[in-house]
């Protein structure tokens, strides 16, 4: 069975890349054809209208597509989660210097960010912070981070979208003051000497639902071999013994750039957070593997609440029933 699967080149595409490249899909009788997509909107439309059979997809975007809030409405379901976490907020070095947080913990950094953002908004030159799509955990994490410092993000900060591969250039040109994106793009901005990782997604929202496998509800049963293949591939990816090989694979086949050491660090959670080489260790920075694959009921409620808090829907309770049908843990056999 041929399956066309769309993905966006990111560290958390590891399970789909491993499934295609290391034989997990073939062993389940699947000819897995991967299609790197230039934007989330492209991936969503292609999946919704049948150019793709499956996708590595932002959990909120897949749910929004099901709810008819984003792009062509489609009966998408998520038989499994591909990962939890993986995002971070990176700010430009001048912004970090101006923020001058008293400590490096989340509360101190969020307060410092909020203070500076309010000051800049007061001067009529608000900070510009980038995210990846309105229906993304990145957008929600930015808002939660701001609130933690006592800031109403929508009022004080200009939020824009910059495609992650362009974030380094946008930072260099001063078009943005910071961004919330997924691995490895935060680390790439640090390695380029332009950014300081200010906060990790996993400390803003622990075990945040990030990417899911999205398929059409009508095809979900037929695609259970794909779910099995991705479950096995994801389990392989999470095994520390395979980190070196996986980093090489993501560099070579996943379109994540030549720096395998940098990719390896995003997989193990040993992150370099500033250009002087300061390191932080966060084992939960990006969680892959069998312990994260089963969709969790609390995640669909969380996603609905975030949509409501972001003004994308009026009331979380209205969509909870649809959200319930969105996650299909029963399709994950293992």
């Amino acid at each position: 069975m041929r399956v066309d699967l769309g993905y966006v080149p990111l560290t958390d595409a590891a399970p789909v890349i491993a499934a295609a490249e290391l034989g997990f899909a073939r062993e389940e009788g699947i000819d897995l054809v991967l299609s790197p997509e230039p934007s989330w909107a492209t991936l969503r439309d292609r999946l919704a209208l049948g150019h793709l059979d499956a996708a590595h997809m932002l959990a909120p975007l897949a749910l929004a597509t099901r709810l008819g809030l984003s792009g062509p409405q489609a009966d998408l379901v998520a038989p499994m989660a591909l990962n939890l976490n993986g995002n971070a907020i990176t700010v430009s070095l001048p912004l970090w210097e101006a923020m001058a947080p008293e400590a490096d913990d989340l509360d101190a950094v969020a307060s410092a960010f909020a203070r500076l953002a309010m000051a800049r908004a007061g001067e009529g030159r608000p900070l510009t912070i980038a995210t990846v799509h309105p229906f993304s955990c990145h957008s929600y994490q930015l808002r939660i981070f701001a609130e933690r410092g006592g800031l109403d993000l929508g009022r004080a900060v200009r939020i824009v979208v910059v495609p992650p591969p362009q974030t380094v250039d946008a930072l260099r040109r001063g078009e943005i003051d910071g961004f919330c994106v997924g691995a490895p793009w935060n680390s790439i901005a640090v390695a380029a000497g332009l950014g300081r990782i200010a906060a990790l997604g996993c400390e803003i929202v622990p075990d945040c639902p990030e990417k899911v496998l999205a398929v059409h509800g009508s095809q979900a049963e037929a695609l259970s071999p794909l779910v099995e293949a991705l479950h096995r591939a994801g389990t392989w990816c999470a095994d520390p013994a395979n980190v070196g090989e996986l980093a090489g694979l993501l560099s070579e086949k996943g379109g994540l750039g030549p720096d395998t050491d940098l990719i390896r660090r995003t997989l193990t959670g040993h992150l370099v957070v500033d250009p002087t080489g300061l390191c932080r260790t966060a084992p939960d920075y990006l969680r892959l593997g069998s312990s994260v694959h089963r969709p969790r009921p609390e995640h669909r409620a969380w996603l609905a609440r975030q949509m409501a808090a972001s003004g994308q829907i009026a009331d979380a309770t209205e969509v909870c029933e649809e959200a319930e049908a969105f996650y299909r843990p029963s399709l994950l056999k293992a």
Binding site: S39, P72, V160, E175
Partner: protein, 218 residues
């Protein structure tokens, strides 16, 4: 043809839709065209102008796209499906009280065939909230026609190129046969054709084999 969200989801009608009274024809619309291929963008621009849309602006698919689209305040944005900038437009048109929204997401629920045809042709569109179906449909029809014609031309060009490349290989193979076997050109070609028939292969395959062998054996 636009999103028909329950009114509680909806933002206040933007000033843009107020700009155009319903009676105006589509010549009064401002259409932005965004495409990583500047040639394809130019072809669409020309098509829209020919159809009477006066204000067509090709916006470069570059870093200042948001500022340009924001300043232009287009009624319709026609963007190639594969533009990496599409997520930028989605943020600008996002269903959120927090964002400036020059455009609203184009979602055609009433005409699924049209939507499929647009996406198949590689088109996505964003329209200002409140713009009526009959004003958008002709623009999308033109975009679909032009994009499909462009894809066809590109395919033909590719085929022509590969034909030309094949012709060059066959000429080289003929040249090799002529010099090695002292044959006139016509005989060399006949020999190629005969070999192809005997082996039930294409002439180009035989020619490639000869060229490869000659390259290897010197």
């Amino acid at each position: 043809m636009q999103i028909h969200l329950p009114s509680r989801y909806r933002n206040p009608v933007s000033s843009l839709s107020k700009k155009h009274p319903a009676s105006m024809t589509e010549t009064s619309l401002t259409v932005a065209v965004i495409d990583p291929s500047s040639l394809r963008a130019a072809i669409l621009e020309e098509g829209l102008r020919a159809a009477g849309v006066d204000s067509v602006v090709v916006v470069p698919d570059g870093p200042d796209l948001q500022a340009r689209v924001g300043a232009l305040k287009p009624d319709v944005v026609v963007v190639h499906l594969e533009s990496p900038s599409r997520d930028i437009l989605e943020q600008m048109s996002g269903i959120s009280r927090h964002v400036e929204r020059p455009v609203a997401m184009f979602v055609d629920r009433s005409d699924a065939t049209m939507m499929q045809a647009a996406v198949d042709a590689g088109i996505s569109a964003y329209v200002v909230d409140g713009l009526r179906t009959e004003r958008i449909k002709p623009i999308l029809d033109i975009a679909i026609l032009r994009f499909n014609a462009f894809a066809r031309l590109q395919r033909e060009l590719m085929e022509a190129k590969s034909e030309l490349a094949d012709r060059k290989v066959i000429d080289r193979a003929k040249g090799i046969l002529m010099s090695r076997k002292g044959l006139p050109e016509e005989e060399a070609y006949k020999l190629l054709r005969k070999q192809a028939m005997n082996e039930k292969r294409k002439i180009i395959d035989i020619a490639r084999a000869i060229v490869t062998a000659a390259d290897l054996l010197g």
